[in-house]
């Protein structure tokens, strides 16, 4: 998430459009988002199981 925040900040701060750099950053961000979604889904499932166990 920290890396992703840096990329978003980079886009926000860019005044000159560097297409090559922007493409590279987009690719990096897409990878990070995919990995983060996967990990977050795992964490969410884990949490749901724990919650179910406790509530039972």
């Amino acid at each position: 998430m920290e890396e992703l925040s840096k990329i978003l900040a980079w886009f926000d701060a860019s005044e000159e459009l560097d297409v090559e750099a922007a493409l590279k950053k987009v690719k990096q961000a897409a990878d990070l988002i995919r990995a983060s979604k996967k990990r977050l889904a795992e964490v969410e499932n884990e949490f749901k199981e724990i919650k179910k166990e406790i509530e039972e």
Binding site: F11, E16, V26, A29, V43
Partner: protein, 389 residues
């Protein structure tokens, strides 16, 4: 040897031997115990432990040979000295080998409160010196005592007071009757205590009603005091007294003032246990309430924790979603596909008409490649600010 007929004593014809006659006399003399008072003189203590002495009645110019055997002498707790006023309990007897007439004392008592007080003070000092009154050597009653030994007189109100005040806790009372009055009570008291020493009891209670200093003398007897000191289970003494506390009470593990107080002392741990039992339902209810409160608190904490985590997860999903949108908006490929193009002049991105002069060359990047172009005309937007916005 003799016959009785119509109240008259008849002598047989056959004469008695001296020994037969002495035996006859001794049997007759031994029928009734006598108490004699007089002043001690001519004392002879033998290695055997027996003590021979005279008891004089100065006023009447009369004297009696006396003896006290070792065991009885040790029991009476008096050291006979010349000039002492003594009260002897015993029987007269003729000693066959010598024909000597003696008074065989089974008990020796001091006469006069002064002498008694002096003996009391001396013994008290001696026992105190041995640490027998020390609080450290006092033993605690067992919790919930059950089998109780009691030494007291069957006569009188004392035993009734004790029994009536003993709670209904299933006590098993072994009572041994004993004389408790005066110095003569020493022997029966010792016998009673020794009887109970052999029994399986958890506490010994020695009780009697109040009385004068003289009437309580048995409880100042050294042998009796030491018997209580060495008694295997805790001793409760409820021996009434006025000023001088009986030494038996001072060495006892518990000293109470009345038989009723002795009974109450034995009741204490039972009453306490019963009170605790009665508190159990209240305690259980309290524990239940505490438990329910903990459960509620735990549920609230659990809910709060779940809400917090769920919120955090949701927030992370939202952050990722936003990041996706931002990245998509900033993706140059998407922009170019939408029809936007990037215009450069000499490699630098151009943003304004002013970046170019007529006939200057520009490179235009579109979604699938780059065009090279020349500026033929410049046309500025009217209402420039509004158009751009």
């Amino acid at each position: 040897m003799t016959k009785q007929k119509n109240g008259q004593t008849l002598f047989e014809e056959k004469p008695l031997t001296v020994s037969e006659y002495i035996e006859l006399l001794n049997t007759a003399l031994a029928r009734d115990e006598v108490r004699l008072v007089g002043e001690a003189a001519e004392i002879k203590s033998y290695p055997s432990g027996h003590v021979y002495f005279s008891l004089k009645d100065e006023k009447a110019n009369a004297v009696m040979n006396c003896v006290i055997w070792k065991g009885n002498y040790a029991r009476c707790g008096v050291t006979i000295e010349v000039g002492m006023r003594l009260v002897l309990t015993g029987i007269p007897s003729l000693y066959a080998p010598t024909g000597r007439f003696s008074f065989v004392a089974s008990m020796v008592e001091l006469q006069g409160e002064g002498a008694l007080k002096k003996a009391y003070d001396e013994l008290k000092k001696k026992l105190e010196g041995e640490g027998l009154f020390a609080t450290e050597r006092k033993r605690a009653l067992p919790e919930l005592p059950h089998r109780i030994g009691v030494v007291t007189s069957r006569e009188g109100a004392v035993i009734h007071d004790f029994i009536n005040n003993l709670g209904h806790f299933g006590f098993e009372v072994s009572m041994v009757d004993s004389r408790v009055e005066g110095q003569q009570a020493v022997t029966p008291l010792l016998q009673a205590i020794r009887t109970l020493k052999k029994k399986n009891i958890e506490a010994l209670v020695v009780i009697r009603g109040g009385g004068s200093f003289e009437s309580l003398q048995a409880f100042n007897n050294e042998m009796l005091v030491r018997e209580l000191v060495n008694f295997p289970v805790p001793v409760i003494a409820g021996i009434g007294h006025d000023k001088d506390v009986p030494l038996a009470a001072l060495v006892a593990d518990y000293m109470v003032s009345t038989p009723t107080a002795a009974a109450h002392l034995l009741n204490e741990s039972w009453e306490s246990a019963y009170a605790k039992i009665h508190q159990v339902p209240h305690l259980l209810a309290r524990i239940k309430r505490e438990f329910e409160k903990i459960q509620t608190d735990f549920k609230m904490a659990e809910d709060s924790m779940f809400t917090h985590i769920e919120g955090g997860i949701e927030s992370l999903w939202q952050t990722l979603h936003n990041a996706e949108q931002v990245i998509a908006l900033n993706n140059p490929v998407r922009q170019l596909r939408l029809g936007y193009a990037i215009v450069r002049k000499e490699g630098k991105i151009a943003r304004s008409l002013n970046d170019f002069a007529i006939d200057e060359r520009a490179s235009i990047e579109v979604s699938d490649g780059t065009l090279l172009a020349r500026v033929e005309e410049k046309s500025e937007y009217k209402n420039h600010g509004n158009e751009r916005n």
